[in-house]
Every structure is written in structure tokens, then in C-alpha cells.
Symmetry: C2
Subunit: 156 residues, 2 copies
DNA sequence: CTCCTAATTAATAATTATTACCATTTAGGA
DNA sequence: TCCTAAATGGTAATAATTATTAATTAGGAG
């Protein structure tokens, strides 16, 4: 529980209670959280913490590779402790994300990275589509509203 | 040059010049473009097209799986014609994206998707890290500024 | 070819997500 | 204990995207 303390102080960054709390929250969550969600959670412990502080620290921590950014589908950026494998089936309708147990970061890919002098820090593999429910829902909609029915207007 | 015409009109959506132009631009570009960039390009042909129209159509086209959204690193969402393989080494500093020639969407993954009743539409595989240059730059910075030197303050 | 209507558009206001700014506070080494 | 760079809270500013609305248009029916 202090690899990050080293990483920070080794570079002259201070160990503030705010940082402690943010990392603790990320450590206790298995989900990936948005800055907003982290802010809310943080405020339960220390109500005066500013959202700007949350953002500032998440950026710093991401830069130091202590946390990692996750840009699933749309909506705000999400964060989690660095190091996990982030491979999901993501529903483009409802946003549900099922973890995949497979990791594509292997032989071939590593070789290409090396050839390019690329310093790999992290990787994401996302399979986008529609979960069972939403897939069904869409098929029904399409069956009906072909060329009329409801408001063909906006969606998503 | 009309698979998308069918997809649209089959569902009662109209074939507007705006849509034509947007898709033409995406077709002629090998890069993935932001809504803003598409807007600028579009306006060269038809200066009166509103950015809102660009966004609206990109959303619709994405929903119909005619184009696909690409959320590389930070910055705005990018778009390209659906169907390409989107596998990159992405530099977290300068944003450079090198295409990978490897596709992880194979056996195992397809099986998991199927088991979940998941309708796969697209997939992205991103390897995040630092390109040769930025990697070097960072190492130099760290060597110097350990615990002092410059503004330890913000960074991305 | 003309008419009609739902779909679409342009323009702009509103909303979200994130960053910048600045005066004040604080971590942590001398 | 003191000092200073780093960090914070509060808020204004910016960027990206969506909603709203009155006016226009694609494309099928007659």
C-alpha cells in the first residue's frame, strides 16, 4: 500500500490527504469510476474536497501511471488503478460492460511496439456492439418502424 | 457507393446532400476525423452546413453502423467509415497513433461474445504508452527535475 | 409534375466535461 | 520551528456535444 507514495515523493510531489483518499477509493472499487463519481465518494470522507482537485490529481496520477484512463464508449472518462486488464464487451446502447477473460497483448504486438521504440504502458481492448437485451430491442424497433411508425428522428 | 443509401432509406431516413457530403469526406480520408474537422471539410463544399447537423448525422450514422466512433486517448471523438480495423499504438503525450497490423478479434473472443448473446459490431484495440521521442523526453525530464528543478506542477 | 408531410436543417441556446486561474493553505525538508 | 514550492478550494472559462425551434426539403402519393 505505498508503491504510489514512492512514485510521488521520488519526484517531489507531496503526499496529501486528498491523494490518499482518491487512491483509496479507486483501490476499493472494482468498477471504473468517473471523476464525478470519485468526487462524490471522496466527499463522503472529506466534504470540502474540490472537484478540480480530483481532476488535477487524476491527471497527475495518470501521468505517473499510477491510475489509468479508460474511455469506454461515450460519456465521461473513467479511471481505475493502473495495471488491470481492460478488455470488455461494451454495449453501445446501454453501456453495460462485460469483462473478457482474454488478453491480446502478446508476442506479435509486443514485437511491433519494440520495433517502433514504443514504451508500452497500458492497453485496452474493446468489443463494441449490443448486449442481448438491447440487440433484441433494436430488432423489434426496426421491424416496426421501417419507414414510418414512430419518430424516426433522433436516437442514441 | 450506396450500401449506406440502402441502410438509410430502408429505415425511412432521407438521403440529404449533407449526409452525402459527410460520407464522401469520410470515404476519402484514411485518417479518422473529429466532428470539427469534418465540419470544416464539409464547409468547403457547402459553406452553410451547420456543425449541429454534422454531429446529428454522425450519431445517426454511427447508430446504423455506417460509421464508427473512435475514442483515441483524450481529445474529441473521432469518426471513420465502419468496418476498418482500429488497432493502434497511441502515444499518451503527443497523440501519435501507429497502426498495428494485428487483430485480436479471433476465436476465443468471438466465442465469449456468442455465449453472452452479444451482437458484435466493431472492436478497438489500443496500446497506450509513449512513442520513441516522447519516451526519451520524459526520461530526461525525470532525470533532471527529481524533487525540484522546474515547475513540478501540472502536466498531462 | 405537383402536393403534402414527416424528416431534416441552420442557427443558436443550453448542457456536460474538463481545465485555468488565483488567493490561501500545507507538506515536508533545512 | 520556519520556509517555500507544491497543492488546494472555489469559481470562471473553455471545449465538446446536445437540445430546441422555426423554416426548409426529400421523396412518395395522387
Amino acid at each position: 500500500m505505498s508503491a504510489w507514495v514512492e512514485k510521488l515523493s521520488a519526484r517531489g510531489y507531496k503526499i496529501t490527504p486528498q491523494r490518499r483518499i482518491i487512491l483509496e477509493i479507486l483501490g476499493n472499487s472494482d468498477r471504473h469510476l468517473t471523476a464525478e463519481e470519485i468526487g462524490q465518494e471522496v466527499r463522503k470522507t472529506e466534504p470540502s474536497i474540490s472537484l478540480a482537485t480530483v481532476y488535477r490529481n487524476l491527471n497527475l496520477l495518470a501521468d505517473l501511471q499510477i491510475v489509468s484512463r479508460l474511455n469506454i464508449h461515450d460519456g465521461p472518462v473513467r479511471y481505475e488503478l493502473h495495471g488491470g486488464h481492460n478488455h470488455h464487451l461494451v454495449c453501445m446502447d446501454c453501456g453495460v460492460a462485460v469483462k473478457l477473460g482474454v488478453c491480446p497483448m502478446q508476442g506479435e504486438v509486443n514485437r511491433v511496439a519494440e520495433e517502433n521504440g514504443f514504451e508500452v504502458s497500458n492497453h485496452h481492448f474493446e468489443v463494441l456492439g449490443y448486449c442481448r437485451e438491447c440487440s433484441l430491442k433494436r430488432k423489434l424497433q426496426q421491424a416496426n418502424s421501417t419507414a414510418e411508425g414512430g419518430t424516426a428522428g433522433d436516437k442514441d
